[in-house]
Subunit: 245 residues, 4 copies
C-alpha cells in the first residue's frame, strides 16, 4: 500500500505576528502538524500556506491528495474562493478533510456543512479534558478513557453544526463548559472530521495524544471507494426504451 | 393560531419565454402554487419573483416568513448572493424551506446542503409513480400508498445530497429509473424538504396529490421552537470562575 | 386542541425500600413527575407502576396515550415482555417516549435502540451543569444557556447509543466528566427523547428547569402524523399489471 | 493482512423442502454465497446453518468472525435467542453484519434496528433494476450505473427501518414499485448492510453483480477499530477528585 498523501494547510499568520506563537511553533504550526504525521510511515505529509501562490493548492495537487488537514484563524477571508471551490469538489469526490480548532470558521468547513459553525469561546488557558465517546472507533485508537490538555482556549455550546454522523469526543472544561469536540460527517464521498483543540499560543500539537488523534483521523478520512466526478447527465434513452427526442 | 406566513418563490422566466408553459400556468407557476396553498385556511401565502426589486425578499419580509417555497430552473445564477445569504440565515434561525423540482440546483439548496445536488434527467413526458415510504409521516397525510403523475420529466440517481434525515417518497419512472423524491433535513433550526415533481411544461402543480404534499410540507416545515440568532460570544467569565483577562 | 394524553411510568420500588427516597418523593417519583406535567393545562397526565396488574398498560390504554414517560432502575427485569412489546408497537405507530435517567437501561429503551445503552456512573452527589446545544430547539424553550443541578449522580461516556438524530443537551460534571444528556431519535413514527437527570435520592424532579424540559419533551414527542399500523401485505396485482398467481 | 473471517448463515430449510430451490442451489444457498466470497482471496468464508448444534455459532467462533452474512426466511423463529444475543453483542463490539433479502425479518436484524422491518411483497418473477445512489461508495465498486436481475420477488415500500446512515442502492421493479435496496447503519462499532435481492427460487446469488455487491459489503463491514466490550463501570474516584464513598 502506498503512503497516504496528506497536505497540511496552515494559514501561517499568527506565526508572522506573534513572538509567543513563534516560540511555541518555531517552524510554523503547519510544519509541527506535518511532522507529527510523519511519525507514521504510512503517511506522507506536505504543507501549504496562505502566502504561497494559489495557496499551493492547484487542482493538480489536490487531485493527488488523499487527506487535507486544515488550520486557520485570522485569515479565513483571505483564502481564495477558487481554492475553496476546488477543495469542496475534491472532498465530494472522496478526499478526506480534517478541520482543526479555529478552522470551524473556515470557508471550506462552512461551505461543506451549510450552517453557521458558531460557538462560544474564552481564552483563559484553562484545563481541557477530552472524553472518548466510542472507545472502539478508529479515531480513538491508542487512547485511554480520556486525556487532558493542561492549557487551552475554551469552546462551548451551542456549536452551530448539522448533527454529526458520529461523535467521537466530548470536552470538559475547567471553567464549566462541555463541547462536542470530535465530530464526523460524510459529504459526497469525502469524510470530514472536526477536532477541537489547538489554540496557537499553547503547545497542543506537541502533545502525544493530540498527535495520535490527528494521525488516526487522517487514516480514517482516507478515500475508501473510487472518485465520483460530478456530472448531471441527460439520459435520453431509458433502460425501458423511453426516449427524449 | 395565526396563519402560517408563506412566500412562494418563482423565478418566472419560463413563463415569459414559452407559450407552452404559459398555457399550463397562465398566472405563472408561483401563483399556481400559492393558490394551492391558499386552499388551506391556516396558510397565508404570498409570492416573490426574480424580476422584482431585491427579489422582494428583503430581510424585513423574510423575518416575518415562516416557510419559503422555492421553484427555479433557468436563472439560478441570477438570484443575488445577498438574498441567498439572507435566506440561509433565516433557515438557520428556524424558517422552513420547501425546495421543488429543479430547485435542486438553486444556490440556496446547494448552500445549505454543501454538496453537488446533481442528478440524471430526461424530458420524455413519461409516467412517474410516487411511493410513500412512511405512511404516518406528516408530509404523507391524505395520500394513498402511491400516486401517479401521468407526464413528468425524469430525475434519476445518483442524487448528490447528504444522507437525508428521513425519506418520505421514492419515485418509480416508466423509463426504468428510481429516485429519492421526498427528502427531509434539518439545518440549524430550519426544516428543509425537497420534493421532486414539477417540470414547467406539465400541469403537475394542478394535481391534487401534489398540492396536498406541498401543503403538508409547509405545515411540517413551520418553525417549532424559537429563533436562534447566530453569534459567537466571548464568555470571559466562566460559571466556575475561570476568567479571561 | 385536546390535551395531550400522557402516562408517567414509575417502577415505584425505591420508594418502598428507602426512607431517603420517600422523604424526597413522598407520593412516589411518578406522581411528582405527573404533577409537574399537570402544571401545563394542555397536558393530561396519568401514572402507571410496576405493582399494578399488567402494569396498567393494557393495549387499550396505550392506544389512547400520546406520550409515555419512563422512569425505572432496580426492576427493569420485572417489566413484562408483553408490555414491552406493546409499548414498542405503539412507539412505532407514533406514540412519543420520554426516557428518564436510569431508564437508559430499561427493556423498552434497549429494545428500540438496539444497542447496549451502557455508560459510566458515580453516586457522589456532585454538581451537574446542563448546557443547551440548540437554543432554538422546542425542548430547550424557556431555558437559559445552561442550568445547574446542585447534587446529582454522574453519568459518563462512553454512552452506548446509536448516533442521536439531534443532541439538545450536554452535561458537565463537577467530578470532571461530560455526557450527552438530551438525545432525540425517531423510530417508526415515534419520537424518543432521553433526558439524563433524576437520581432517586435527589429532588431533581422538583427543580423548575428539569420540569420545563420534561414538559417541553412531552410536547415535542407528541404524535404528528397518523398511526401507521404494522403489516406486511402481499400485493398480488401490481400497478403495472404484473400478477402473482 | 490476514484474510477476512466470514461466516455465511443459511437457514437451509427451503433447500430441504423444495425441488425447485434445490435445483437452483444444489449445495444450499449458504454454500453458493460462501463460494462467491471465496472468489476473493482476501476473504475466508465458512458457513453455519439452523440444523447444526448451537447453529455452530458459539461465542468462540463469533469472537473470531469479522463479518457475518445472514440469509433466513421460513425459520426465523427457530433461531435461538441465545445465538441472537451473542450475535448482537459481537456486532456492537465491531463485527460486521450483512443481511440478505428475507433476512429483513430475522430476529437479529429487528433486534439491532428496533423497528418492524416490514415491507410489501409479490412473488411474480418480475424484473428488478438496481440503481447505484453513490457510485463512489465502497459497496458499489465494480458496478455500472445500474444492473438488472431478470426474475425476482418484489419488495416494496413502506420499509419499516430507522433512517439509514447511507443508501447505496434503490430498486425499480417491473410491476411498478421502488425500494431502498441497499442500506447502511452503524450500531455500536458494528457496520450493518442490508441488501434486498435473493429469493430462493431464482439464481440471484449466481449473478456476477450480486456477488460483487456481497463481496464489497463484506469488505466494507469488516471491523475498523478495536473491540469495545460492553460494561457499565462505577467510577468511584473522579479525575477532579470527587469520590463516591
Amino acid at each position: 500500500m502506498n503512503a497516504l498523501r496528506v497536505v497540511v494547510w496552515g494559514e501561517n499568520v499568527h506565526e508572522q505576528k506573534s513572538d509567543q506563537v513563534r516560540s511555541v511553533y518555531p517552524q510554523g504550526m503547519h510544519n509541527s502538524i506535518a511532522e507529527a504525521l510523519r511519525a507514521e510511515p504510512a503517511i506522507a505529509p506536505g504543507t501549504a500556506t496562505l502566502q504561497e501562490a494559489d495557496h499551493v493548492l492547484p487542482e493538480s495537487r489536490l487531485s493527488e491528495t488523499d487527506v487535507l488537514v486544515w488550520w486557520g484563524h485570522l485569515a479565513h477571508n483571505q483564502v481564495s474562493d477558487q481554492v475553496v471551490d476546488r477543495v469542496q469538489k475534491r472532498v465530494l469526490e472522496g478526499m478526506g478533510l480534517v478541520v482543526l480548532h479555529s478552522g470551524h470558521y473556515s470557508k471550506i468547513f462552512k461551505r461543506l456543512l451549510g450552517t453557521s459553525c458558531s460557538l462560544t469561546w474564552r481564552e483563559a488557558g484553562e484545563k481541557e479534558r477530552i472524553w472518548v465517546c466510542n472507545p472502539g472507533h478508529p479515531i480513538a485508537q491508542g487512547l485511554s478513557a480520556y486525556f487532558e490538555i493542561p492549557h487551552e482556549e475554551m469552546y462551548g455550546e451551542p456549536f452551530g453544526i448539522p448533527s454529526p454522523d458520529e461523535i467521537v469526543f466530548l470536552s470538559w472544561f475547567q471553567g464549566g463548559e462541555a463541547f462536542r469536540s470530535g465530530c464526523c460527517w460524510k459529504r459526497g464521498n469525502g469524510k470530514i472530521f472536526y477536532f477541537r483543540p489547538g489554540h496557537e499560543t499553547f503547545p497542543t500539537y506537541h502533545q502525544a495524544e493530540v498527535q495520535t488523534v490527528i494521525r488516526n483521523a487522517v487514516r480514517w478520512a482516507a478515500p475508501e471507494g473510487t472518485r465520483w466526478v460530478d456530472s448531471i447527465p441527460n439520459v435520453r434513452v431509458s433502460p425501458e426504451g423511453i426516449r427524449q427526442d
